[in-house]
Symmetry: C2
Subunit: 618 residues, 2 copies
């Protein structure tokens, strides 16, 4: 019942991903963490998401033929929103097809070479005039005369005089903002790296960046090892509070994992650890505080107060992260106890405030964070949406790891995609969304979230769905895989209760969106753009998200756009651009936190939001 995966290699990234046959190319690319510009929402009308399929090109559509010349089509140019993966492909993704907000902040096209505008981290090879009688300026002033005002800590000053003289005053000045980080022998301008880190509750994602060009050199991800000490934010706060060494334990676990990931990044790219000068960290408030080893107790009780709101700067060496000995770690500013640096990253990376029109950002992770920009005001809220979407509290739920059914399609019969292409072990959140949407479409699931028994099903229900409804304990269940098809010889059932969990999670997000819109006096149809973020968000198909009512009705689908992992994208921006770093701070302070549960209509709105839409036009 599994579909074979097809390899798609992205250039110049050099990354290969595996997707189901028939996957839209733009979604395939998104699953590699690369988000293309699609202002038309994938309708094929804007012509922005141009890529060149160097091999494995599909047939050009009519839209392609309007967009490209015959020669271009022969060369493999296609719109990624139109193209479908049918055979193994090599796809070239031009820098100009990336999301414009990331693009404009970051890069400035100079003779075709992308260059980072206003980098915080800089390298410059210099040949200073050595001191001589009549030119006895201090070493630091000699450097400043060439590179501008500098600060230096005493460790750097202890190193500097010897370094300058051994190298006859020739070498590469490394600065971060106004701080002198090193004076390296020879010209090392080409080796200037930073790491951007998405510090997820469940998953850690790290990206090695070439700061001079803004390009990604390597990517690593792994499960956050803190999971073993607590499944979600609250259980980790409890672990930190209740055990004598709890906080240290959580801190050490994640820092060690990050240090290992940096090792992987270096191995993959051939970059030396000491040529990484900076790491930017973006996560929710609790994850960021645990990372810094700041007590999280106050985040675990009403009114959920964080310690710091502004960015935190740490010495990497003191933290136990091996990069350059004077490398710095920047932790993103936060908005509040439950709206953290990852949300700030999202606001930054999506360029949320760059248009005047009302825009909504929904970041679906273990928590759901919602940000509304309307009438020059930024409001943000957090919902406890997480567990179901992440596969938790679902009978056979699991994370999107090997063995997880991550996609469900129905086309005469049920098609499943399993991560790692192995026998399925369980299902993750995106598959649950897919399944619920399909069952709603076919009338197997009612808008109240009730599974119908076989005898109550409409005639139109296809037999491959109908036969899967079985009795289970006190209710019904849907058989996703028979025991013969499953690892461990147990069928994978999705129970009535599981659909209730999904209803709760979906309802929480929709209620949050509804309340933010209501408070701002904005109607769903007034939203110019709805941006869906989060590693998980990326895997949900827009049509299915709308079908289950994740967003309030009335939002035209072409206004919904996937933004990929915006937490990582924001960390990347903060690593590369001083302007972006300053913007992040301003955005964090400017955003107003809305406590959803204190809204008088919360209960009513939440109850309404739990009803699946009657009439999802797919």
């Amino acid at each position: 019942m599994e579909e074979p995966e097809i390899a798609v290699t992205l250039e110049p990234l050099g990354k290969t991903i595996h997707v189901l046959q028939g996957t839209r190319l733009i979604e395939a690319i998104a699953s590699a963490g690369v988000t293309l510009d699609q202002p038309c929402g994938g309708e094929g009308t804007c012509g922005k998401c141009r890529v060149r399929m160097k091999s494995g090109a599909c047939e050009a559509t009519l839209v392609d033929q309007q967009c490209f010349s015959a020669k271009e089509i022969r060369q493999g140019w296609r719109l990624a929103c139109q193209a479908v993966v049918e055979e193994p492909a090599v796809v070239e993704v031009p820098e100009t097809s990336l999301l414009p907000s990331r693009h404009t902040i970051l890069t400035d096209i100079v003779e075709g070479e992308p260059e980072v505008a206003d980098p915080a981290l800089r390298k410059r090879y210099v040949e200073l005039t050595p001191p001589a009688r009549g030119d006895e300026a201090a070493d630091m002033l000699r450097l400043e005369a060439v590179v501008g005002p500098l600060e230096a800590d005493v460790d750097m000053l202890r190193l500097l005089p010897g370094r300058l003289r051994e190298n006859h005053f020739r070498g590469t000045v490394v600065t971060n903002e106004d701080e002198l980080i090193d004076f390296e022998p020879g010209n090392t301008e080409a080796e200037c790296h930073a790491v951007a880190l998405d510090l997820g509750t469940t998953t850690l994602g790290a990206m090695l960046l070439d700061v001079a060009t803004g390009q990604q050199r390597a990517m690593a991800s792994r499960t956050n090892p803190q999971v073993a000490l607590g499944d979600d934010v609250l259980s980790r706060i409890l672990h930190a509070r209740e055990r004598p060494e709890g906080l240290h334990e959580l801190h050490r676990a994640v820092v060690e994992a990050i240090d290992e990931m940096i090792g992987e990044l270096c191995e993959e790219s051939g970059v030396r650890r000491d040529r990484i000068y900076k790491m930017t960290v973006s996560g929710n408030t609790t994850m960021q505080q645990l990372f810094c080893r700041i007590d999280t107790s106050s985040l675990g009780e009403v009114p959920f107060v964080p310690t710091a709101a502004r960015r935190i700067i740490l010495a990497a060496a003191k933290l136990g992260v091996t990069i350059h000995p004077r490398g710095r770690v920047y932790v993103m500013p936060v908005i509040g106890g439950f709206v953290g640096g990852d949300t700030v990253s999202g606001i930054l990376a999506t360029g949320l405030v760059e248009n005047d029109d009302p825009t909504l950002l929904v970041d679906i992770g273990t928590n759901g964070e919602i940000v509304l920009f309307a009438g020059d005001r930024l409001t943000a809220a957090s919902t406890a949406a997480g567990p179901a979407f992440e596969g938790a509290r679902i009978s056979r739920g699991m994370r999107a790891a090997t063995g997880a059914i991550e996609k469900v399609l129905f086309d005469q019969r049920l098609h499943l995609h399993v991560v790692g292409n192995v026998a399925p072990v369980g299902l993750c959140g995106s598959a649950l969304v897919d399944l619920a949407a399909e069952l709603l479409r076919h009338g197997v699931l009612t808008s109240e979230g009730r599974l119908l028994p076989q005898d109550k099903l409409p005639k139109s229900v296809p037999s491959d769905l109908r036969r899967r409804i079985v009795a289970h304990k006190k209710g019904l269940a849907f058989v996703l895989t028979e025991e013969s098809e499953t690892a461990g010889d147990r069928p994978i059932l999705v129970t009535q209760r599981d659909f209730r969990e999904l209803q709760l999670a979906t309802g929480a997000i929709r209620a949050g969106v509804t309340i933010l819109l209501k408070r701002a006096g904005v109607k769903p149809e007034d939203l110019d753009r709805v941006l869906i973020a989060g590693g998980f968000g990326n895997f949900i198909r827009r049509s299915n998200a709308q079908r289950i009512g994740l967003l309030p009705p009335g939002i035209p689908r072409n206004r919904i756009r996937y933004q990929g992992n915006t937490s990582l994208a924001g960390a990347r921006l903060a690593a590369l651009s001083r302007t972006a770093r300053v913007q992040a701070e301003q955005l964090a302070r400017r955003t107003e936190h809305v406590d959803l549960s204190s809204d008088p209509d919360f209960q009513t709105i939440f109850a309404d939001a739990m009803i699946f839409p009657d009439d999802g036009r797919d």
Copy 2:
């Protein structure tokens, strides 16, 4: 032959010093490190140096009678420049009688209570509103709402949430500039201290300050233990360069001594070490770099290049100085390799640039630093004057330690003052200056620096001088004490060679002054003020300094003012005032270093300067 010392106690300082009977009160006060305002140069015409002799008052002079009412005179009010110490005295020194430049930067009289204007270090007791539903601002923002924008390092952030909650959000916020240093339980506003340190080549002086009032709480001094590893700057640079552990050894020696001195300050004042939040350090460039453990090799060879020019900030804890765990150490900015933080302190503390008129500052230490402010330009030079003034390279020379003859007066017979009131061991620089001046006055020493044999002496030479000229090795010598009066049964002789050394030292300083004046086109008589600084400078009597030609002829004596230890005074200002700290940085960058030896007339000027003036009007 020794004179008894008389105790003078200064209030509100609570400090007692011992001086020779007949010492002018203003000089007695200066020897305690307290410099009074005397714009008239001690002529008694300005009436600024008002003090109240609570006991031991001398007769009021005519000048006093013009200055004060009869009642005030009965209460003990006198001008310190007119008063003479005749019996043990208790003297009240009002804040308003202090040097105005130090006074105006530092203090603002608020209802009679001195308050430091613009302190960098502040304490404020706050009672914050604890977080509640609807008021979930971050801990740091909660503090910022009360005390303004704050930065905090991660150590502070780790401590903060617990500290706030244990104390129900009530306590004392400690900030240094914009940095949060601590949140202390209870109201500790009254306990806010800093240490100012004069890092001399020979002597370390440390002052414990109450930052809120600017007042001195305790004072400690000791010989710089680095002396054991090298007598002067150059020999220490050599020690650091030639031995594997040399730099560390020098660093450790001075840091340990400073840490012990802080212990003494705490013991004397009853102040807790962790209530000291800051230390400012002022010394010559080499001493400052050794203190920071920054390689000094380049300071030991042409063109004598320092590593850093701007101030250096270190964590006290990292340095091994036990003050508050997050206390900071600020090391003064420097002008050049041989014009260091001590000179910047001098420019700052004397308010050198605050008047428009040409002003000269001469700091007499192991090196002589000279600064000229004229026509809005600041120029500075350094001369290798030191050894003789500090007692080095003098046959029986020694530092102003116990057993040193530090003062020589001639009044029918020779009067000597010995430090510690013990049998003399040798003589220090100030005694050498006194002696040379007396011998020049009486024609025993010629202006070429030659001691005359008894048979060539003018008839007028008093017998107590005449009998002391003796033959010694290949030349003559002057017997300061007979062997019977001396510790160790050896007479203390001052040889012809010793007077040559003094000639060299004096000549170096006068040549430096002459060259700076020449380059600026300023005549000596155009100088509005000549400020003499340095712990040693303070002990030289103005008349004797002029008699031996330490300064070019033509400077009216009433324009010469003693400033005391301006290195310490500058460190004190930098510890207390943010404005002063910023000014120090600006002054350092604004001052132009003049390499005296590169002046084409240097040799001629230096040779001329070695001739003692013919005609010293005493």
